[in-house]
């Protein structure tokens, strides 16, 4: 219970989070902090455990060991038990932690929204419906009132908010398109819009610039800053485009083989030898 006494500015705190699949330790003793209003990047070579770390924050995976706090409240916490005690390979010695489990939907309600590395839109539904579904969880209604149309006000409010959001994201003219028929860049855009519709405080972006050309990447950079300011968000993102990362991030965490190898400002990271090693491999020539 050490982390609950953090300052109010702390949005996310991960303490020694370890995720082990069988004999593979995908995330190994990751400790990470994100403060309010920051844009933080999580980088690392392929297979470093970045997406797994995301899944540990959003409750898709239950960490093998460690604790995740969001806005000072412990949302996930676990310690190896039973067979796992013998199998545990993590670097941090496990200590008893109270076990806190939350399913992804509960965590979303608390205010963490995310996008996915391989876009996960509701492909057969329209753009409008995709965003409207995100509004469902905060609506005051039940299945009877919804079926018998007693929730007209709620429904109208949801639709209005959805239109407003789509309008802000310049997607309104596409609202009746089927989501999977949109071009790739717009699908990414829509996924972010859908995440925003859950009214989050903290946004996780998993490779938002994947597959984008330099111009689109630049637009995305501005876009992320803009939504951070207009929605008062804190952003944590996984990204491979170094231009984007270096331009936008307040701080950077670098993962390699599940372990944190560096953290700091973009300048510090750019000159960090271990990071260069991880990306380019150990070589005599690499440091010229």
């Amino acid at each position: 219970m050490s982390a609950t006494a953090k300052t109010s500015a702390n949005v996310l705190h991960m303490q020694d989070v370890t995720m082990q699949f069988g004999g593979v330790v995908a995330v190994n003793g990751l400790t990470l902090d994100v403060n309010e209003g920051e844009i933080v990047a999580l980088i690392g070579p392929n297979g470093a455990g970045k997406t797994t770390a995301f899944n540990c924050m959003t409750g898709i995976y239950e960490p093998t060991f460690g604790q995740v706090d969001f806005m000072g409240e412990t949302i996930l916490s676990n310690t190896p038990k039973g067979k796992m005690q013998k199998m545990y390979l993590g670097e941090v010695k496990p200590r008893p932690l109270s076990i806190v489990r939350n399913t992804p939907d509960v965590i979303t309600k608390k205010g963490i929204a995310r996008t996915f590395q391989n876009i996960r839109l509701f492909g057969q539904l329209t753009v409008f419906d995709n965003v409207l579904i995100a509004k469902h969880m905060r609506a005051k209604q039940n299945v009877f009132s919804a079926t018998l149309r007693l929730n007209r006000k709620e429904e109208a409010r949801m639709r209005e908010e959805t239109s407003a959001l789509l309008n802000e994201q310049n997607l309104l003219h596409l609202k009746d398109e089927i989501a999977s028929s949109l071009p790739y860049g717009l699908q990414r855009r829509l996924e972010i819009a859908r995440a925003l519709a859950t009214e989050p405080k903290f946004l996780l972006l998993d490779e938002p610039a994947a597959g984008m050309n330099p111009q689109e990447t630049q637009e995305l950079t501005d876009f992320i800053k803009q939504i951070r300011d207009s929605y008062h968000l804190t952003v944590l993102m996984i990204e491979h485009h170094m231009d984007l990362v270096m331009q936008i991030s307040d701080r950077i965490y670098v993962l390699d083989f599940g372990k944190l190898i560096a953290q700091g400002t973009p300048d510090e990271i750019q000159n960090n030898e271990r990071v260069i090693e991880a990306y380019l491999g150990v070589s005599d020539d690499a440091e010229d």
């Binding site: 509701f122 539904l125 409207l132 579904i133 299945v143 149309r149």
Partner: protein, 314 residues
């Protein structure tokens, strides 16, 4: 069923079981008290049921609720399974329900394998149609509501739906319960319509029939299901002439005999599945506008064909 398979993406083969529950509930509740003695002629009737009798609409609602209640209990373990496993597990449960109904130990309640008869029928045909229409209307309203969207989201992508704040299990269970409610009511309607039921009616074949209707009509389309059910039922009857011996020029065509119509029916089904892979309606809904456009489109198509032919000739 369509709600479950088409809109939530859960594949259940247990609908016959829920229909059986609905049908038996309605039957037990509506058989007139004075007729009960003759229906339960074998073992007599459990005393608490002997004087039970209520109007059919109330019985239908109770049937639906009862089926939904059983579904809620079954759903807790079963809905943790996915796709094929879910289908097999629900299939198993449906057979269990049928076996329980037919069990001699329950003779006093369900009349075991003797079935139930003397169920009062509908006062008129419009009542039957009206109730069906009401069920369909409720279904359409549900599907177009916020909850219907949530179900569709679940079908499209479970992980993303969770990230949108939908509790996976809660919504699956909800869809399962609602679907079973309507199946139960459907079973009750069947009981009232047939006026006598036995547990054999609700074997796995019934589930296949429903599945057939849903697939044929188009998964994820309510009107498709309605059209599908008419097609399947009517198709079986229209094709009946294949069952009669056919003589052409005094020679009996050997293929035409009893049972042959089912072969033809199967071939037609395969054709539908091959050429209209997504069912007659796909996931589209029927609308008068659409029908109008279709009819309007026919002359155009013909013209095009004519033109094409002329072009070839020239």
């Amino acid at each position: 069923m369509n709600l479950l398979t088409g809109f939530t993406g859960l594949f259940s083969l247990g609908q016959a079981g829920f229909m059986a529950i609905g049908a038996y509930t309605v039957a037990i509740l509506t058989i007139p008290a004075e007729a009960k003695a003759s229906v339960y002629y074998v073992d007599g009737i459990a005393p608490f049921l002997a004087n039970l009798q209520c109007p059919y609409w109330l019985a239908l609602i109770i049937a639906g609720l009862f089926a939904a209640g059983v579904a809620a209990l079954i759903g807790i373990p079963v809905l943790r399974l996915k796709s094929d496993y879910l289908a097999i597990a629900t299939l198993g449960f449906s057979e269990i329900i049928r076996a329980v109904i037919a069990a001699p130990q329950l003779n006093k309640v369900t009349n075991g394998s003797y079935g139930l008869k003397s169920i009062p029928g509908f006062p008129n045909i419009f009542a039957a149609f009206g109730l069906c229409a009401l069920c369909i209307l409720l279904m359409v309203l549900l599907i177009n509501s916020s909850y219907g969207r949530a179900f569709k989201a679940l079908r499209e992508d479970e992980v993303a739906a969770q990230a949108m704040g939908l509790n996976l299990f809660r919504y699956k269970e909800l869809a399962f319960i609602i679907s079973s409610f309507f199946t139960g009511v459907g079973g009750g309607l069947l009981a009232i319509f047939m006026r006598s039921i036995e547990s054999k009616t609700f074997s796995i074949n019934l589930t296949y029939d429903i599945l057939l209707i849903v697939v044929l009509g188009g998964i994820g389309s309510v009107t498709g299901s309605v059209i599908g059910s008419f097609l399947v039922t009517a198709g079986r009857e229209w094709l009946r002439f294949f069952d009669n011996p056919l003589y052409i020029a005094g020679i009996q065509i050997p293929l035409f005999r009893s049972g042959f119509r089912m072969v033809i029916f199967s071939i037609l089904l395969m054709a539908v599945v091959l050429f209209y892979r997504r069912g007659v309606m796909g996931s589209n809904e029927f609308s008068w506008d659409g029908l109008f456009r279709l009819i309007k489109g026919i002359p155009k198509k013909l013209k095009k064909k004519n033109k094409a032919q002329k072009g070839e000739n020239a």
